[in-house]
Structure formats: C-alpha cells, structure tokens
C-alpha cells in the first residue's frame, strides 16, 4: 500500500504530457513519468520514492510504436518487455529482455521504464548502446533526437521534465551476430551480477555491460582492448578488467571478488562465441 497521496494524469499527446509535467512541477509536486509502474509501486510502498503526481504515458500514440520502417527500427518507450520479446524485431533486444524480472513483471515493465528508472541495471539499454541508436526526447522546447550514447550511457542524463518518446536504431544492426549472457547470484529471476551483451560488427566486437558496476554502459576503450588481436584473448580480458571504468560492485548479491571471477568467465565465453560467429 502506498501511504502518500498523489495526482494521476493520463495525457493523450506528447505536448499534453510535457505540459502536465511542467504544471505539476511548478506546483511543487515533484512529478514523475509513469509507464509500467513496477518500480514506482515497489519503491513507493516502502517510501523509497515519493511523488505528488504521476503522468501516465501509455495513452501517447508515439510511445506505443514498434516497427521497422525504411531501414529504421522504431520502438516507443511504453512498449512492454513482453511485447519486445514476442515481436522479436531486434533479436539481441528480445533475448536480453527475455530474462529481465519474471513474466508477470515483463507484462508491465516498459522499455522506457527500464531505461529511465532508478534501478541501475537497465539491461534493455545495452542492445541500443551497441546499435548506436538515437533517442527521441520531448521537453519544454519540443522534440530533439540525440545519440543514446550521449544521454544514457552510464546513467540517464535527460533534462528535467524530458520524456523519452522513442528509440530509433538502424536496421542493419538488427541481424548482426550477437551474444547476451546474464549471470545472477543463484536465481533464474534476479538482478544480474554480470550481464554481458556483445555484437559483432564489421569493424569488430562491441560490448556493453550491466550489473558489474552501478552503471549500465558501453566503453569504447574497453572495446579497443578487447579487439586488440595483438594480444591473446585471455590477456585482453585481464587488461579490460584492470581498466574497468567503474568500481566493481560489492553488495548482497556478490562480493567484488566473486563478481570479478564471474565477469572473467563470462567475458571469456562471450569473446569466444563472438569470434566464432563470422559475419
């Protein structure tokens, strides 16, 4: 049960949503955009999150798009993970989404919520980072389209009140050889202690990670290391771990030492699989 009161609005257009946010914000309600609500509900009932207004984006047509059009894969932020898995337009995204939370929750969790929420796992983000996708954001100044790398890699850097409307990816990435591996403490259904997603592009291997650190990210530096064929794979992996751009997590899911052990194994398997998969 959520003990605090809040307003609920369900705008029908992007403009209405942005205006509703601004109205609520100037009234001091600390509004948040709402889509699947799994995170809002589970945090609010424990008072880990408070808000005076939620703005439900599920009625906005642009947020409910999922299609491949003119060599572009467009997905709206209100599309649920279950829909992503079933439509299977971007196999790496489907496979990565398939074991985020459980089925009941995937029926609710949306792409937008997974990318913009407070939990830092953001596993559905990784395939978009690998595909150099673009995001469509709506704010007070209207719409803007920017590379996802700029506003999402590591952590969301949206402007206040900005709404993630869509993510657009070039269709040529959709069919590339890929790998996605999730390792948990023990359970099938849990947050990752290591999530590795990889794509084999023409210029080399791309990789993005979640669960290892407090950030879901892709690092060009790490990719350079991992593609450096002058070194044996195992050595490349050791260098990559040494140069890991964020602190390796030490929490109730796993110690940093065990996470590193799992990361090493997972990277080894991922590299082997991707090197085997020719274009």
């Amino acid at each position: 049960m959520i003990s605090f009161d809040f307003q609920y609005e369900r705008p029908e257009s992007i403009e209405e949503a942005v205006q509703a946010f601004q109205r609520a914000d100037s009234a001091g309600l600390e509004p948040i955009y709402y889509s699947g609500g799994t995170e809002i509900i589970s945090m609010a009932r424990l008072n880990l999150l408070r808000t005076g207004a939620v703005i439900d984006i599920k009625g906005i047509p642009e947020c409910n798009v999922m299609a491949v059009r003119q060599d572009r894969f467009v997905i709206g932020s209100a599309i649920t993970l279950t829909n992503v898995v079933e439509a299977n337009l971007y196999p790496l995204l489907s496979e990565t989404s398939r074991n985020v939370a459980d089925f009941t929750n995937r029926n609710k969790i949306t792409i937008g919520g997974n990318l913009c929420g407070k939990f830092y796992y953001r596993e559905a983000l990784l395939p978009f980072l690998l595909a150099d996708s673009q995001v469509v954001l709506a704010g007070a100044g209207g719409l803007r389209q920017v590379p996802i790398d700029l506003v999402m890699n590591g952590e969301p850097r949206l402007e206040k009140g900005e709404l993630l409307v869509q993510i657009i990816s070039e269709a040529r990435y959709l069919a590339l050889p890929f790998i996605t591996v999730k390792k948990t403490k023990q359970e099938k259904i849990d947050y990752p202690i290591v999530r590795v997603t990889g794509l084999r592009a023409a210029e080399g291997i791309r990789m993005a990670f979640s669960g290892v650190s407090e950030a879901a990210f892709r690092s060009r530096e790490l990719e350079e290391v991992l593609n450096d064929t002058a070194l044996p794979v195992q050595e490349r992996i050791e260098v990559a771990i040494r140069r890991w751009p964020y602190p390796i997590l030490n929490d109730i899911l796993s110690s940093a030492a065990y996470r590193t052990f799992v990361l090493r194994n997972t990277l080894t398997d991922a590299m082997e699989a991707l090197e085997r998969r020719r274009l």
Binding site: M1, F4, S42, N47, K185, Q186, I252, Y258, N265
Partner: protein, 772 residues
Amino acid sequence: MTIGEAVPRIESKDKVTGFARYANDTQSPGLLHGWLVLSPVSHAQILSIDISQALAVRGVQAVITGQYFPVLTGGVLADRPPLAVNKVRYFGEPIAVVVAETEHIAKRAAELVRAEYRPLAYVSSPSQALKPDSALVHEDLGSYRKYGDVYPEPGTNVGNRVKIRKGDMRSGWAAGEFVVEGAYAFNTSDHGAMEPRCAIVEAMPSGLVEVRTSTQDPYNIKRLFQRFFQVDQSKVAVKVPFVGGGFGGKGSCQLEYIAYLASTACGGRPVKLNNIRETDLVGSPCHIGLEAKVKLAATREGKLTAGEITFLFDNGGYTDEGALVTQAAAVDCTGPYRIDNVWCDALSVYTNHPYATAFRGFGHTEAMFCVERTMDLLAKKLRMDPMELRYLNAIKAGDTSPTQAPFDSSNLGDLTKCIDKLKSLIRWDEGQRIVLDGHKVRAIGLACIWKTSGSAVDTGSGATITFNHDGTPNLSIGSVEIGQGNRTVMAQILAERMNMPVRLVHVKMDVDTQITPEHWKTVASSSTTMVGRAVLDAAEDVIAQLKRNAAIVLGRLPETLEVGHGKVYANDDPSVSLEIGAIASGYMYPDGSASGEPVIGRGRYRVHRQSRLDPETGRGIPGLQWTVGAEAVEVEFDTRECTYRIVKAASVIDAGKVINEGTARGQVAGGMNMGLSFASREAFLFDAKGAVLNPQLRSYKMIRFGENPIYLVDFVETPFLEGPYGARGIGEHGTIGMPAALANALSVAAEVELNELPLTPELIWRNREARG
C-alpha cells in the same frame, strides 16, 4: 477401504477458486486497523517515542507503545514485551502500534511516529555473545518468570542450556580409532509462509475477548491471555479459519497480544493487525540460526563409539519457542545412529537478530545438517562408502536414544529398510560422483534423519461427532487446517472405521475454541497420530451408541450388530438392518412413539509415557515415537563456475502407515522443497550494526516453481502401534535431511568441505579459493 488412498483434499475447490477464507479475509463493521512501527536499529536504548504527530492524523484512534501495558511474555521464558519497553533488541522489533479507521490512515500516521535511540553494542553471533566482554541482550535475565523446563544463565546471553550425558566419554574416545570433527554455521532465516500473519482481536464490554487469527496454537492463546493479561480463559474465544502455511512460524503468540492491547485502547473495538511481507520476515519470529561443533569417533570398521556435540543456537533477541528448539536438537543430537557415549551441550543464545521460533523440523533440520556432514567426513576418513557407514550404525529396536529412551519395533521406524529403498531409488550403485562433458559433474549426497514426535508432556486431543438427518457424520477436531490436508486425513480415518465413503464425512474446517474439542497444537507432525486417535475413539463411541439405538428396534443384542455402508445391520444377517439416518437421533416408530437417544460421539486421546528430562543428564522420554528416513540429493555441478542445478531429491520415510498417498507425498516433497530452499539460498544478511539487508522477497530469495528438482518419494511402513492404523508423523521429515544431503552432494562435487549455509555458488567458490 479408504486408508492409503490418494483422496483429493476436501477443501481444494474452495481454495483454487478463491472462496476459502483466511484471517485477513474477515471484514466487519467497526473494524479498526493497526500498523506496526518497527525499530530500525538492532540494539539500543529507547530515549523517547513521540506519538503526537501520529495521534493528530484524522482517523487515528490510538497509538500505543510498550509503556501502555509493560508485561513480559513468552512460551517457557517470559522475556519479551509485546511492544519494546526501554530498549530494542533486534532490527524490526515493534515499538508502537498505530490504530486507525483504515489501514491506509494507520500506515500514514505510523510514518509520523518519531523515536530516538541510543545505540548499544551489537551482539552479532552466538560465539560473540558468549565472550565474557559481550554486551548483554537481557540485563534482567535472572528475574524472568519461567513456565516450563528452561535454564537461563543470568549475567550471560544464555537463554537456555540443555545437557545430554550418556555413557562414558572416556571409554568412547578410547574405543574410537578414528576421530573427525567439523564446525558448522548458518544465519537466521525465515519461514516465508504464503499467508503473512494476521490477527483480529475484539475485547468486548462483556469481558469476552474474541481472537480471530492465523495460528498453529489456538488453545494456548487462552492460557497466555490469562497468564499475561489476567483475562479468564472462559472469556477468551479463539477462532482459526484456514491458515496459509505456518511451518512453525505461527506456533507462538505475537500479533494477538498487540491487537488485544490495541483493542482495549480503542474501547474494545476489533483491531486487525495484518503483517506486510517485510514485517512478517523480520518483525515476527523467524527461523533459528546456529554455530555448532560435532566430533565423532569410530572403530576402524566404522562402528560409532562416541559423539560430542555443541550447538550454539542463534535465538535472536528473545527465546520464544527457540528455547525448546534447543532442547529438541539436543535430544536427537546424534542423528539416527547408535552411539553409546554421548556428550551434548545445546544453548539458546541471545543475539541482536530477529528472534527465532520453531521451524519445520524443530531443531532437527539444523542438528542433522551438522551430524550428517560429519558422518560424511568420517566416511571419507575411514575410506568407507557413506551409505555403508550409515547402514552399519543405523539405530534399531533395543538401542536407546541420546536421552536413554528405549527403542522397540513400534516406537522406532526401520531405518535400514529406508536406506535399502533409497539406494535403488537414487541408483547409488551407478556412482556417487560422475564426470560429465565439459566442466560438469553429477554427485549424490546422503542424509539419514529422525525426529521424535516430541509433544508437550501434558497434552492430548479430542474429537466430537454429530449426525445429520440423512445419517452422515459431522466431525469436529482441534487441529488447524494449514494446508497439510489434515481434514481429509481425518475424514478418511473416520470413514474407514465407519465403513462408509469418505465423501459422506463432513469435517468442520475452522477451529473455534469455544466449541471445538482441544488438540494440543498443530505442530510437531503430530496431528495425524494424535487427533487421528481421538477420531477413532469418537468413532467407537458413536458406533456403540448407534448399536444401542438399533438393538432396541431390531430386538437384537448390540454386540451382534455391525455398522457400515450407512447402516446398522445384524452380523449374521445383513438384511436385518436400519439406516443410520433412522436411528442417529433415536428411533421413531410408525405410530409416533420413540426409543433410543440422539447419537453424539466424543473421542479422547492423551499422551502417556513421556517424561521430563533430567536437567543434568537429559535422561528422559522426550516423545512417543521416532519417525526415521533416508534422503538424498543429486546435483549437477559446474566445476569451472561453481554453479549448480539440483537434479533430484529423494526421500524414503517410514510413515508407519500411509493414510493418504497423495497428501503424504505432498508433505514429503513440499518438505524437501523447503529444506532445499533454506539450504541453498535462504539467510538473513546483516550489516555491521545488525540491520537486516534483505528484509523483502526482492532480495530474500526462495525456490521458485520451475527451479525445483524432480522429487522422488517412497515409504516404508513399520506400524506405530499407538498411531491410527499404525501411522507416524511425517509432516516435517522431508525437510530435515535436505541441508545435509545438499551440502554432502556439493562437497563431493566441488571436492571441498562445505560446512556453512546457504550453499550459494559464491560460498563454494570462496571455499575452493581458500583451499587453493
């Protein structure tokens, strides 16, 4: 014949359609809702609790703290106030309850209660608690009232100490050519029953106190309310609808006390306290933790000669039923083996962890983990097949228990038969460790188990039978239908004795202590054996009464009559008969005149022949019978990643007599699931100051459907002469061996000794790294 049949549970349709009512399904006009305020610190002095802001919230009726009625409660040792007084002793301890017109208002107001604490040193484990310089969890331990055999040690953190002294240790060690020793540990955890605890209490102006609650122990609430609140037992009416699982966690009283005090603070209006999951996990009593040492000696042939066992139970902030769990672990401390020389000290130790109560297995799940791991260490040292070692030492009629209770072929099941059956069930002869492709190995671990029925000494059960006009019986019994299928089993026992179809027996589902005949409590795998005997006794009573009524009408002697198929008939000529419906309330002749009396059956069963344990040696008879069994777990282990999959879990239990094949299998498989979940992943994690880091199901993980292995269940039937149709208790036994069997399997698979729980891949990895 219905005994042995897998009769479907009679309440299932109401459950699967959502019609079955649990405590929280009760709504009534005037019902108020309480919300508990929990301590965010593990050990601290309470400097102040400011309730003024909460009281000011519209719709709030009362806010009470421990000062409202500072009384100490407890099962055998009264050490716990219903709401904390002066200090808190665990993270999650209730310090106040806010009562309001709705649950929503109560929760909102509860957030406005402000408490100030002065932190005290955190007592983090039993071994730390026993150090001379440890902080004391209870400074006034010496002044606490006792209500049973409990031996607290004032000035220390020892809440209870149980001693077992059997034989002569010196000659035991002298005879042992091989000695092994192991140290074991696991944190406190939880039961995780599907239904969180809920209690509704109404303290009416007439003095009647009505308690509607999810409990395993309804009748004792009357005694406790008299003891601690001075309410006459005659004025306490406890009503128990379906209970959604308890596993020991609902065997002690907590929310009932608080809801009662809250009701008195609100002019007697009914107050409901319905735990949210987070409160149920840490605020209410949990599963005990343990640190233990086991030392065993054996001859070169593998014959056990001595056992020295030390159990330091982590009982958390209060003893509750944990004081008795400690005793139960001690009385069966050796496992189901003959050891003539035994030394055991079992301590209930106070720490600043959530307080612990009974858990499925009641001390045996915990004790067997340690003993059965040590048996594997011994087998390894002896270079002996671990199955063979267990077979060789298996307890038998003629042996005695660690408390020197004598065994015969009735009060003890047949362990060697169980081992034999298990051997083929898990294909032991194909090998204990098999290397598969890649990094995978398959390994099997074993554990033998036993547990005595272990009821209180002064206890019994009752049953009443009335009749409908169509001649079908209504049965009323005091055990709680908690998901174990007790109502169905009781219907079968009555149907069998009355020689009639089970579907025509009507069993009252709920318990109402004002009218339902008492059963001790629904714990200790005892309902089938104890209540079953009362049902049989009641059946004898109604059969005699039916015969008397029929004898007058038929002009025959009662002893020449039989009851069956809905009739009373002459044993030499079944065509001479009367329908039960025609004589169940006496007989009316065609002219309207009448004979006979209404038939109302009563059945009784009293526990005899148990005895209290000697405080210095433990000598005594702790239970009526011992159920034994042999269990195994097969794992597929990844030697590179230290991850594993539980492939199979198997149990062969000596059930005495299986009354219901379906529910018996369900109990054993469900028990195994619970044991495996506990052993593989369940434990509270604490920060450096004793706050629980995983007080919710998001982070406190239990086995999900789909993660379960294949469950293999088989039975041996060595009748317990006192049990109904020979039946023994089997409710807990599936659980008991699983932690040891899993640890033994993984130790073999990973080739490293794993003596801690839960058995996470990281734990295995850490042990392997430490070994190098």
